[in-house]
């Protein structure tokens, strides 16, 4: 009962309430409140994440698993960042309330927390992101091979778009006058045609499908037909 019926009731009532609230100005505030609650809940849940992170890494270190030194690095980085951030160590005082320590800006670049962000987190995340330039090249080399008609369409389109993205496109077909009958052979015109008509059509249909998928999934959840999230223990 507490494990299965109550969650189903919570889900159904909260779902229906928010659905109905979209149609009346008097319940608009409700959605706002619920969205605020979720944010609070997500912030509280960080404690859960931190607990898990500490447990896993402490276990690695204490049992001297191979590579435990990396767990120590993670742990040290986590604890250090958390400490300077939570305590607002070295925070720049708020000019209007310099006497209230915790009103200061902990994320200012000159505060330790801001320093960690600017000189560690930013280079690490953006370089990780930048690895995609390599992967996009290796994926193109490996996957864009004309194995069948569908593959030819995929690689052909990518090829045309890549060509038209650069000055090479202008160089190859830029001599065709824009107002001539053959202007449709210009790469920039072809690119526009592909993106505006074909890609738009494809994406539209995908969006329509997704909308129906979301609607059906939400309905299954709200009406308690899909209960896979529930514990069976």
């Amino acid at each position: 009962m507490l494990r299965r019926t109550v969650p189903i009731l919570i889900l159904a009532s909260s779902g229906l309430l928010l659905f109905v609230s979209a149609f009346s100005p008097f319940t608009v505030g409700l959605q706002e409140i619920v969205l605020k609650w979720f944010n609070i809940l997500a912030a509280v849940a960080f404690v859960l994440g931190a607990g898990n992170l500490l447990a896993v890494n402490l276990e690695q270190i204490s049992s001297h698993r191979p590579g435990w030194a990396y767990s120590a690095i993670t742990l040290a980085a986590f604890v250090g960042t958390l400490a300077v951030g939570m305590l607002k160590v070295g925070a720049v005082p708020n000019p209007m309330y310099p006497d209230v320590h915790f009103a200061g800006a902990h994320d200012d670049p000159q505060a330790p927390f801001g320093w960690i962000y600017g000189y560690m987190l930013v280079p690490l995340t953006s370089t990780m992101f930048a690895l995609l330039a390599f992967y996009v090249a290796s994926a193109a080399f490996r996957a864009f091979r004309a194995k069948n008609f569908e593959a030819i369409l995929l690689l052909g389109t990518a090829f045309i778009i890549l060509l038209s993205q650069t000055a090479a496109g202008m160089f190859l077909t830029g001599w065709i006058p824009e107002d001539s009958v053959f202007s449709f052979l210009r790469l920039d015109v072809i690119k526009r045609g592909i993106t505006e008509y074909v890609q738009t059509a494809g994406m539209r249909a995908i969006l329509i499908g997704i909308a129906l998928g979301v609607a059906a999934t939400s309905l299954r959840l709200i009406f308690g037909i899909d209960k896979s999230y529930l514990s069976k223990t």
Binding site: T125, S138, F141, T166, A167
Partner: protein, 304 residues
Amino acid sequence: MTTKNTEQTPDGIRGFFVRLGRLDRRWIFLAMGLSIAVPILLGLRFPEVPSPMARATFDAVEDLPEGSLVLLSFDFDPASKAELQPMANALVHHCAAKGHKIVFMALWPLGKQMADQAIKDVLLEFHGGKYTYGTDYVKLGFKAGNEGVIKLMTTNLAEAFPTDAAGTALSNLPLVADIRDLDSFKLVSTVSAGYPGAKEWVQFGRESMKSDAQLTAGSTGVQASQLFPYYPKQLNGLLVAVKGAAEYETLVTEKYPVDRNAGRLEQGRIRMGPQLVAHLLMIALIVLGNIAMIASRGTQGGAR
């Protein structure tokens, strides 16, 4: 990673292509790295021809009466800065050159810092004289809640942002004191790298804006295809990736040139040089991959 099976590999040029097909991907990585690094060091640049989408974005800002109230939402973080900061800079410069009143906000936690940078590098640098805080521009800062923030703004701005980024109540800032909701803005422009961003602005914000108000987006290349369906009705203008930034920069700086530090409004165009070489590499890779496939298909007698 390269497997050695010399028995099956024919000699000569065909053999070369067959081996090429099984190329260790690290050589591709190296080629990609060089094709970007070398042009940076040589400083290659090419002219830009603005596309209709860039022109539409330009017009959305340009056609507003001088001094209109605009909302710029910085929905990205440093990870997408290279693509989006040039757009943001050009956008801020354009709005300021037109004398629009600007409200800055962010749906991404780090978007606030991106906005601060654009304000420092462009707004105060080129237009510092005529822009004072509180009356000509306001920084609302970041608010957690993704599309929820947009929804709140459609009904009550002060509830979404009780204070500005520095903690001053909105009622003490003349520019925003009387703004009730999103309806008051003549232009909303999001520079967006993903969720929450341009799509959420269209889904949840557009509804509540005046029908003649403009909504434009600057987008990373990756989410652009998701936004095409919204252009030109729900999104009045759309800038896609560095190329969009470079085109928009061209339009803006042609009309409103600056006398110093022009490099801050050329970032997009400078970054298009390595783009060309890298794109040509990608094209070459696709061609080589297919030649290799055809070559190896012959050797195996169509067994596959």
